[in-house]
């Protein structure tokens, strides 16, 4: 695997920008402030990990970027084209085969039929599921399903990929393999990625940058650049060391919070 410095790549992809974004759910006494004045900028081609304790509004932030929800105040913008989203669950359509799921994403953006089949095959190969196109989601393992979901997200040919704890439900070994694959895929495609996780090591393993959010309401409290060379290993010393620093910062925040 080649070592790539993504930020040195030309800024042709999409970027994400949040300026003073707040989000309040509900009204009056029962109102919950999920995000408070969050400003964040993700450069084209950058892999940014968002980390924080549960309830810090990480998922809300992704939904805002995805346009699934509107901010109460502030501005969210994504330059460039479509935004793809990967959820913690694969969210595959059970009535379609693996290939059918990927193909539907191509169809949704109007790719012609003949091309669809070929592209589907390529995408499944990209996620190392070459021979599994005819399988239905329930016939695949959890890791394989998440790969199909990744292939489906890639099928959108989006510049920005939002990932909401996509490997949270997988075992450590499978997650490790998928980390490598995600690295490889992002390096080849110049994707801008916003990756939400509560696993500090995963964040350091994957990200060019790790953004730490506070809880209730979510605020950006720290940012860490990850200068570790790729390929990285989740159990390597530099990853562990930086993860330690991030964890300390998180602990500090949580003790202040009392949670």
């Amino acid at each position: 695997m080649a070592v790539t410095d993504r930020r040195a790549a030309p800024p042709t992809g999409g970027a994400v920008r949040l300026a003073g974004v707040s989000k309040v759910f509900g009204r009056g006494a029962s109102a919950v402030q999920a995000l408070d004045q969050v400003s964040l900028e993700v450069a084209p081609g950058e892999f940014t990990c968002l980390i924080g304790a549960s309830g810090c509004g990480k998922s809300t932030l992704l939904s805002l970027v995805a346009g699934l929800e509107q901010p109460t105040s502030g501005e969210v913008s994504t330059s460039g084209g479509q935004v793809a989203f990967m959820f913690q669950e694969p969210a595959l359509f059970p009535w379609l085969t693996a290939a059918g799921n990927v193909e539907l994403a191509l169809r949704a953006r109007g790719v012609a039929k003949a091309e669809r089949r070929q592209r589907t095959e390529e995408l499944l190969k990209t996620v190392h599921l070459g021979g599994f196109g005819a399988k239905r989601p329930h016939q695949l393992s959890g890791g394989m399903r998440q790969r199909v979901a990744l292939a489906r997200a890639l099928a959108q040919d989006a510049d920005v990929l939002l990932m909401d704890e996509p490997f949270g439900a997988l075992d450590a070994m499978t997650r490790d393999v998928l980390h490598d694959e995600l690295d490889r895929i992002c390096a080849g495609r110049h994707l801008t990625v916003l990756f939400v996780t509560h696993n500090v090591r995963e964040a350091v393993r994957l990200g060019d940058r790790v953004v730490v959010l506070s809880s209730r309401p979510g605020r950006v409290i720290a940012e860490f650049d990850v200068p570790i060379e790729r390929p990285r290993r989740i159990d390597s010393a530099p990853v562990a060391e930086l993860a330690g620093q991030v964890t300390d910062r998180l602990r500090e925040e949580m003790s202040r919070d009392g949670s």
Binding site: L68, W95, A105, A108, R136, Q139
Partner: protein, 290 residues
């Protein structure tokens, strides 16, 4: 000659091999046979028990003059199966069932689709549909007969009123229970309005829709039987007409034979819906073993 020998040799080899290992087709055949037997024996046993109890009641002498035993009834059924009249009646009834149920699927489907998508419409007629569902369809016959006279239309009208609400409700339930996560995934994929409906909501509603169809069929079949007994159209023998004639002539053997025919048709159609339901479950991975 040599070619011929070789061909023979290969044929023999293939035969020998076939002795050793069952072909996949054979295995599948055997498995199918085992499964068919596993499904069949409880049914056969149940039938045997029913026949035995029936025979015992007959032997006990209860209402001896009018209550026929299974032997005489089945003999009567056997005879009727060799006359054109029963088959003609079955054809008439089946035709009404197909047309009535087909129209119910069409109307129920369209209403279900509209109600599930248009919010004010849901508020207006949502509970009305459920109300209609609980209405005994036989209560509609006076209304239908006054409106359409003694005609097939009256029967079809009641079938539709009986079946369409269940079918509409099935579809509405299916749309309502489309998992929100899948909706999110579909939206992110770029599916909008019609395509979201066509590629996501409709297929996601399929299991609930099939359940609605199955329930709708049960209502349609009941309405049809009630209709054929109430709306007796001259020169158009149907199962209901045969039953009604038997009643007039106090022909208990024939009446029981016709009841058995009605029961069997109901069971067969129900099995077909069960088959469709299981097929979907297997495809979706909802079945226990797949």
């Amino acid at each position: 000659m040599a070619v011929n020998n070789r061909a023979k040799y290969e044929e023999k080899l293939a035969w020998l091999e076939s002795l050793e290992a069952p072909s996949p087709e054979e295995l599948r055949g055997r498995r199918l046979a085992t499964r068919a037997w596993a499904g069949a024996w409880p049914v056969l046993l149940a039938i045997a028990i029913v026949l035995a109890v029936w025979e015992l009641i007959h032997l006990s002498g209860w209402k001896k003059d009018i209550f026929p035993g299974p032997g005489a009834t089945l003999a009567n059924l056997w005879d009727q199966l060799h006359t054109g009249l029963l088959w003609y009646a079955i054809a008439t009834t089946a035709e009404r069932a197909v047309i009535g149920f087909g129209l119910a699927v069409l109307i129920g489907g369209v209403i279900g689709a509209l109600v599930s998508r248009i919010r004010p419409l849901r508020a207006a007629v949502g509970s009305l549909i459920t109300g209609l569902q609980t209405m005994p369809s036989i209560a509609w016959f006076p209304f239908a007969i006054i409106l359409f006279g003694i005609s097939t239309t009256a029967i079809l009208f009641v079938i539709i009123l009986g079946a369409a609400p269940s079918i509409a409700n099935g579809l509405i339930a299916g749309v309502d229970y489309t998992p929100p996560l899948l909706l999110k995934a579909g939206t992110m994929m770029g599916l909008r309005r019609f395509s979201l409906w066509r590629f996501l909501i409709l297929p996601a509603s399929l299991p609930a829709f099939v359940a609605g169809l199955k329930q709708g069929w049960a209502f349609a079949w009941r309405s049809l039987m009630a209709g054929e007994l109430l709306v007796v159209i001259a020169n158009q023998p149907s199962l209901g007409v045969l039953l009604s004639t038997d009643q007039d002539q106090s022909d208990m053997q024939s009446a029981t034979a016709i009841i058995i025919v009605i029961l069997i048709i109901g069971i067969i159609v129900d099995q077909l819906f069960g088959l469709a339901d299981r097929g979907i479950r297997r495809r979706w991975g909802l079945a226990g073993n797949s």
